[in-house]
């Protein structure tokens, strides 16, 4: 059965007819071409397909596309600015060496983005718990945690004087 849904992806309003059995992952990847959304298990175990739905990280593989009606979706393609400037979270992942094969990266960047945008403070252990829905087999998570901590740190004072942070 087909159903028409309207939703926003990366700030752009879209309407399309979908098969009601389709997952949001399938619609995003194969109909809309957002191939940055990765499929690692298809059953909500690995976190690779995470997107933000109204700001909340969700496994898009176990989220039916029909449920996205009226929602605002952010995929990894919508994280950097339009002119290609990386977000603070993306920059932190690059700088901290948190990327290896890159397959878990989009999901982790999106979850970290949600944490950063929440404005809350997290202890190391809390941060680990928040990120524990994402498997990564390459990095041993150490640099991912560093990147997440860097992403959540308030903006540092940086000026020509060469001092960083508080004096």
């Amino acid at each position: 059965m087909l159903k028409k849904i309207s939703f926003t992806v990366n700030g752009k309003a879209l309407s399309l007819e979908i098969d009601i059995r389709e997952s949001l992952l399938e619609v995003l990847r194969t109909r809309l071409g957002f191939t940055g959304v990765k499929k690692g298990c298809g059953v909500g175990e690995c976190g690779a397909c995470t997107v933000l739905i109204d700001g909340t990280p969700i496994d898009s593989c176990i989220y039916l596309a029909v449920w996205a009606e009226g929602k605002s979706i952010t995929t990894i393609e919508g994280v950097a600015s339009k002119d290609g400037e990386l977000s603070k979270v993306q920059q932190a992942f690059v700088e901290e060496g948190a990327i290896q094969c890159g397959f878990c990266t989009p999901g982790l960047v999106l979850t970290t983005t949600a944490l950063a945008e929440s404005g809350k403070e997290y202890t190391r252990e809390e941060l680990k718990r928040e990120l524990s829905g994402h498997f990564c087999r390459c990095t041993g998570y150490n640099n991912i945690l560093k990147a997440a901590e860097k992403s959540l740190k308030p903006e540092e004072h940086q000026c020509a004087c060469g001092h960083h942070g508080e004096k």
Partner: protein, 763 residues
């Protein structure tokens, strides 16, 4: 020697592509009319296919083709990702058909469907009627070796794939001369790679009828050959492309889906067909790590000198050979440069069973044997009252060791320094003193374990790597390598090497990451921790050749002899003063457009390496054990590596983090479980298979002892696999130190630990 790019933690060349979601993996090459392939899998571990009726499946609208054993070529092929051997006796065991008429494990592929979408394909599978003759399921090596056991492969007596061992010296004489002879038995589990991207490929025919396959593979050139062999085609009729890869760890050093995928496109007139394994399929029908059982017997002198060692090993290779014979050999080979044994007797037997096929996985047999050996050494040390660190140090083989069988010589060995560094980092002495008398439910302990590893496969296998460099008009270069980036960062270190030689910044070296067997230079692929060492030398050679051509061209332009010139910061400069002669970009323009002398500068070369550098390292671990729950927590862990010169410290550290994490999973939680009667997999998914999460992973300390390896470009040695080798035995030895209980079987998960503590009377 001072380098300007090599040795620096430059940013990965693919970091931005990956962090923005632009990096294209196999499944991202979606085509609008792409068909979907699905596999019908045997529900029995061991069964003959008596009859298959596909008529109902074929009649389902949307089904384009149904394939069985009777529809595919009957050419037996081997799947292991090894270079082709001209000598037939060195080839891998050919024991596979594209689809089988005899199931050898639960999940073996007996038929396949091509349909317009996944759902129809799935429905069609259910309409295929198969009549099986069920045979006894041989789920353990003991059963498979048993008297009267049915044969899994008719040409392998007693289900033995291989049993090639060796003797060095006279181990019985060593035992006779020893003051102590100590024995131990050790066992490792079946684990799985769990790369985040499952096996996937898509295949089609081009307008000339050639088969084009895009695949998530570590070995594009080998895949091309094996697909052609399986289908009986000339090798040139197959073209393989490798885009970005979502991890491999050895599991994609095997040809798992591509031959069937090629057969599928041939069955539908060359239309594109995608063959993607689900996670559940990937965990049973790709490869696993071989489970080993070891019996070790070692002679030791009163002075604490290792004399002789006898090792019996049983390796469970599962239903198909894959790398099986080679992994047992690797296990018996790579530990030799570690300790100076005067005699070794190694007797392995690799056995077929009715379980998923085991193959290459990070460390290639060495995590298994090092778990046994380093546990065994610890047991010796404990029994005889030696210091575990000093005992190991005293027995190191060191620099100058010549392997009696391979004749390979060790030119650099920083293991003694690694041990010293690791001991300091974990504050061994200070902590040890505090842990000597513990009581209560929580106990702490320290342990260590060492390893040796190779860089590539020489002299067993061919070590050939190609590199091509083209100088562009703007003075930048394209770098093409046949070596395969799978996440480990090889593209970045190759770019660093080229940039170093050519005096370029990183952004002037454009690495072509996608491998295309029609275009990229020949290379055997990503395995054996070979690429930085073997392909790195090819890149260096190509860059030196381009440099020489540039300087000669400038000689022609300026009358300044090439010997007086050098390349620095995108300029041609005087070697002696650094004074700029010409900007490189200006020279490059002349190589393209000078109406008389134009000749674009390129290099296309390869490195056929007939050397092999040994890398070394050690893990130091501190654990805390909760006696009441059996939970082992790794409090601190340090891996210290001698991998020669480190080309990119940040990337190298990342390799160690990932390897240690894999080692911790191996030690504490991971194992694939099967029903012993039926061989059915019990936990082939990421929920029930206990892969470490971020919450299970401690801070991982990394340090390097940078030796200069003369046989490697810029002094490099292997690093990819080594970090995964020694964590498990180090953790095991720390648990022993804390509790006095020997865990000789992996994993040390809470259930097993709890039961063993009960047996030991600790709780």
């Amino acid at each position: 020697m001072a380098f300007s790019v090599v040795g620096k933690s430059v940013q990965r060349v693919d970091a931005v592509a990956k962090v923005t979601g632009k990096a294209k993996y196999t499944d991202d090459f979606y085509e609008r009319d792409m068909l979907v392939g699905k596999i019908l899998r045997s529900p029995y571990a061991h069964a003959k296919v008596k009859k298959i009726d596909v008529s109902k499946a074929k009649a389902l609208p949307g089904v384009e083709a149904v394939l069985t054993y009777w529809d595919v070529p009957h050419l037996k092929f081997a799947t292991a990702g090894h270079p082709y051997a001209l000598d037939p006796s060195h080839r891998d065991k050919e024991d596979r058909f594209i689809l089988t008429d005899k199931a050898r494990f639960v999940g073996d592929a007996v038929a396949a469907v091509v349909a317009t979408d996944e759902l129809i394909a799935q429905q069609a599978l259910q309409l295929i009627e198969v009549e099986y003759e069920v045979l006894e399921a041989l789920t353990t090596p003991e059963k498979a070796l048993g008297e009267g056991a049915p044969l899994i492969h008719e040409d392998c007596e007693r289900n033995i794939l291989a049993a090639r061992g060796y003797h060095i010296g006279d181990v019985e004489a060593s035992f006779a001369e020893s003051d102590y002879v100590i024995e131990g038995e050790y066992e490792t589990s079946i684990v799985q790679h769990c790369h985040l991207e499952n096996h996937i490929s898509y295949a089609r025919q081009d307008s000339d009828g050639r088969i084009i396959i895009v695949s998530s593979t570590q070995i594009p050139h080998i895949t091309r050959r094996i697909v052609a062999q399986a289908l009986g085609l000339p090798w040139g009729r197959v073209r393989v492309l490798k885009p970005y890869i979502g991890g491999g760890f050895g599991n994609k050093q095997d040809v798992c889906v591509e031959p069937l995928n090629a057969a599928m496109t041939l069955a539908v007139g060359g239309r594109p067909v995608k063959l993607e394994l689900s996670r559940e399929e990937c965990m049973i029908d790709t490869r696993t790590r071989h489970a080993f059982k070891f019996k070790m017997k070692t002679g030791v002198s009163k002075a604490g000198k290792l004399k002789g060692i006898q090792i019996e090993a049983i390796s469970n290779t599962g239903a198909y050979a894959s790398h099986g014979h080679s992994i047992a050999m690797s296990a018996g080979t790579k530990f030799r440069p570690l300790y100076a044994f005067e005699s070794i007797k190694y007797d392995p037997v690799t056995v077929y069973t009715n379980l998923p096929a085991a193959g290459a996985m990070r460390g290639y047999g060495v995590p298994q044997i090092q778990f046994a050996l380093e546990s065994h050494i610890e047991d010796i040390v404990n029994k005889l009252g030696f210091d575990p660190i000093e005992f190991r140090r005293r027995n190191l083989a060191g620099v100058g060791y010549v392997d009696p069988l391979s004749k390979n010589k060790v030119y650099s060995n920083g293991l003694a320094e690694c041990i010293t560094k690791g001991k300091e980092l974990i504050r061994w002495e200070e902590k040890q003193a505090g842990y000597s008398r513990q009581s209560g439910d929580r106990r702490r302990g320290l342990g260590l374990a060492c390893f040796a590893y190779a860089s590539g496969t020489h002299p067993v296998g061919l070590e050939l790597s190609g590199a091509r460099i083209v100088l562009n008009q703007d003075g930048s270069v394209q770098l093409q390598i046949g070596a395969t980036e799978i996440g480990q960062g090889s593209d970045t270190v190759f770019a660093q090497m080229a940039a170093e030689v050519l005096g370029l910044p990183m952004d002037m070296v454009h690495v072509i990451s996608t491998q295309d067997t029609d275009i990229t230079p020949f290379d055997t692929g990503a395995y054996a921790s070979r690429q930085t060492y073997i392909a790195g030398m090819a890149v260096k050679k190509a860059a030196l050749e381009v440099k020489e051509k540039i300087l000669n061209f400038v000689w022609g332009m300026t009358d300044i002899p090439a010997e007086m010139l050098d390349l620095k910061e995108q300029n041609v400069v005087y070697k002696h003063s650094g004074e700029v002669v010409l900007p490189l970009a200006e020279v490059a323009m002349h190589t393209y457009y000078d109406t008389v002398f134009a000749q674009p500068i390129t290099s296309d070369t390869s490195n056929n390496a007939r050397v092999n550098a040994m890398s070394f390292g050690v893990t130091f671990a501190e654990v805390e054990i909760d006696l009441k729950t059996g939970k082992i927590e790794v409090k601190e862990i340090f891996n210290v590596h001698d991998s020669g010169k480190i080309i990119n410290p940040k990337l190298a550290e990342g390799q160690v983090h990932g390897g240690v994490s894999m080692g911790i999973g191996y030690a504490l939680s991971e194992q694939m479980l099967f029903d012993e009667e039926t061989g059915k997999p019990l936990n082939n998914n990421l929920l029930d298979y206990k892969l470490p999460t971020i919450m299970d992973t401690p801070d991982i300390g990394v340090a390097f002892v940078e030796t200069e390896e003369p046989s490697g470009a810029f002094g490099v040695k292997s690093l990819g696999e080594p970090p995964a080798i020694s964590p498990a035995p180090a953790i095991r030895n720390a648990v022993l130190a804390a509790t006095g209980v020997k865990f000789n079987r992996l994993p040390m998960n809470p259930q097993r630990v709890f039961e063993k503590f009960k047996q030991a009377g600790l709780i």
